[in-house]
């Protein structure tokens, strides 16, 4: 992190179009299997993940934490292999760890240290010289939003601040891959929004790839380009969300005021399939039917369309389908 001179950007609704997924592989798994005692936790995982941000989903016990711990080199696979940025996790553990920043799910801090000392020490342990670590610690804490509180002991922090301190120690040494385990755990809505925004910013600057494990599908949907769904130690589904979004757009979702059965019937008479719950209506547009036809029907019946958008399967649908496999 450093200051760079840039012309002040105009404020506006900004949504940068996602860059094309770069070619280099981030994580490669080849028949990876991990065992604890007699239990097989991961069985033969094979995948090639290249996106800027990768989501890891799955029910409790599916093996998400185990996969993360294996990539970090804490567990040794009993069969198969895995590579991070092309390096084998069993042979080049140390150099992989140099490239990774890890934000664990559980509490991880040292109570009596100030945030600056803590992040500085973590930076030094990753190999930064002492003065550089101090500088970068300050910068990291500014970046995550802990500027005012950074001299206080971490033990006095609120939960949201502890999460941010965890994030700061994960990025201080400039890793190439950031592993986040439930980053929004326990955060209140404002803090959660800030965290998601920060993750998106990190994703968009392109310097760090992100692997995020979360139970909140919405968070994953908002930040990830690729999604890996695990179930009982195996890959239940892999999804490239960008592709999903660009796919065939014939599904429409509506929210209305003042609509009754008549409106839904009228749409169905056009040849479209409809599913209506409360005031939400899902429509599969038939060939030749456009949104303006729906508006026409609404105009005729004095229906106010509050919301209208094209929707491919949301991540929730994808996930639930994967669980039934």
């Amino acid at each position: 992190m450093s200051t760079t001179a840039q012309p002040a950007a105009a404020e506006g609704v900004t949504e940068r179009p996602p860059a094309a997924a770069p070619a280099a592989s981030v994580i490669q798994l080849e028949a990876l299997s991990v065992r604890f005692g007699k239990r097989d936790i991961l069985r033969g995982l094979t995948a090639d993940l290249r996106g800027r941000s990768i989501g890891l989903l799955g029910p409790n016990g599916a093996g998400k934490s185990t996969l993360i711990n294996t990539l970090l080199g804490f567990y040794k696979p009993v069969a198969g292999s895995a590579r991070v940025f092309g390096r084998d996790i069993t042979k080049e553990t140390r150099s992989i760890r140099r490239m990774i920043g890890y934000m664990p799910e559980n509490d991880a801090f040292i109570s009596k240290m100030s945030a600056v000392s803590f992040v500085q020490m973590m930076g030094e342990l990753s190999g930064l010289p002492s003065e550089v670590a101090l500088e970068r610690a300050h910068e990291a804490l500014f970046y995550v939003g802990l500027a005012e509180a950074r001299y206080r002991q971490i033990g006095t922090y609120s939960l949201g601040m502890k999460q941010l301190a965890k994030l700061a120690q994960a990025i201080v040494h400039g890793p190439k891959l950031l592993i986040l385990d439930e980053p929004t755990n326990g955060l209140d809505p404002s803090a959660r929004q800030r965290m998601i925004r920060m993750i998106r910013e990190i994703r968009d600057t392109g310097e760090m790839r992100i692997l995020m494990s979360s139970h909140l599908l919405r968070d994953v949907e908002d930040t990830c380009e690729e999604v890996l769904i695990l179930k009982q130690g195996q890959i239940a589904h892999y999804s490239d969300l960008n592709q999903e979004r660009r796919a065939n757009r014939r599904f429409l979702e509506l929210e209305t005021y003042g609509a009754n059965g008549d409106f839904v019937d009228a749409i169905e008479r056009l040849g479209c399939e409809c599913a209506a719950t409360a005031n939400r209506i899902k429509v599969v547009l038939a060939d030749g039917v456009e949104t303006r036809d729906v508006f026409r029907l609404a105009a005729e019946r004095q229906v106010r369309i509050r919301r209208l958008n094209f929707r491919r399967d949301t991540l929730e649908d994808i996930f639930l389908k994967a669980m039934d496999v």
Partner: protein, 285 residues
């Protein structure tokens, strides 16, 4: 006018040498040591007796001064007993210092789950243990064999090379005796610190191991009429080793060889306990 915006930039500069990472832990722990007034004062007090010894050595070689103040003869003799006493006193002080420094070494890391953050970096468990124990090792060395050797050198300066050559073995015993005591204390303190989340409890346990161990050992000997109760008495074991190292006759019934073995067993047990606890993840069955 240019407007500066902060943004994230990766780090592309040089890294520190891989072998020196454990020093980071040493530096931070030392910083904590001197931040505490109590510990700093205690550390300073540990130098009083060596200074006293320095005075003693001076006096022993300046009999004229003694004559002036009216004391006659060879009151102070600088021999193996002299250095044995030094080690004994400093040994006790070392134990006290460990009781203060030791517990705070690993407990804070464990209390809030910070261990994974250490090991997700290019940093191994061995480096962690070495780094943490180095604080104790170096600090305790500063109050045991290092002043001891300095005093030895000064005495050698006064007494001449003949004396130094004849008594070189004392220097060796100083070093060896200190090192084994430092090792025991360090390993014990760190093992307790690793298994107990609260510093105060770990400190109390350390004291308990020493004192109750002694009492327990005596009790066993008395009740069961055997000798091996001494296994529980660390102080006794150490004394047995030191009296042997400094070639002092003692009436103790425990042979030095047995004492060495017992101490080694302690070391191994503590090391095992440490290794079991210091890892990146909790093993839950």
């Amino acid at each position: 006018m240019a407007i500066y915006r902060r943004s994230y930039k990766p780090y592309t500069g040089a890294l520190t040498a891989t072998w020196s990472r454990w020093l980071v832990l040493f530096r931070y722990a030392r910083r904590n040591l001197f931040r505490s007034k109590v510990q700093t004062v205690l550390f300073t007090i540990c130098f009083f007796y060596p200074l006293l010894c320095l005075g003693g050595i001076y006096l022993a070689h300046n009999l004229s001064f003694l004559a002036q103040i009216g004391v006659s003869g060879n009151l102070i003799s600088i021999d193996n007993r002299f250095f044995f006493r030094l080690l004994a006193v400093q040994g006790v002080l070392a134990f006290l210092l460990t009781a203060f420094i030791g517990p705070g070494l690993i407990s804070p890391d464990l209390a809030n789950g910070a261990l994974p953050l250490y090991f997700c970096r290019p940093f191994s468990r061995a480096e962690y243990i070495v780094g943490k124990s180095s604080v104790l090792a170096i600090t305790l060395s500063q109050i045991t064999w290092i002043p001891g050797l300095v005093l030895f050198a000064i005495q050698a300066g006064f007494a001449g090379p003949r004396w130094a050559w004849d008594n070189l073995w004392i220097a060796g015993s100083l070093i060896l005796g200190s090192l084994i005591w430092i090792a025991i204390l360090s390993l014990l303190a760190m093992a307790l610190s690793a298994w107990v989340k609260w510093r105060i409890v770990a400190g109390a346990l350390l004291l308990a191991v020493m004192f109750f161990g002694a009492g327990f050992g005596q009790a066993i000997n008395a009740v069961l009429r055997i000798e091996s109760g001494y296994f529980f008495n660390l102080g006794y074991l150490m004394a047995a080793v030191w009296t042997d190292l400094f070639r002092i006759e003692s009436e103790q019934s425990l042979s030095a060889g047995d004492a060495w073995i017992a101490l080694l067993v302690y070391c191994v047990i503590c090391l095992g306990l440490l290794v079991r606890k210091v890892r990146a993840y909790e093993v839950v069955r």
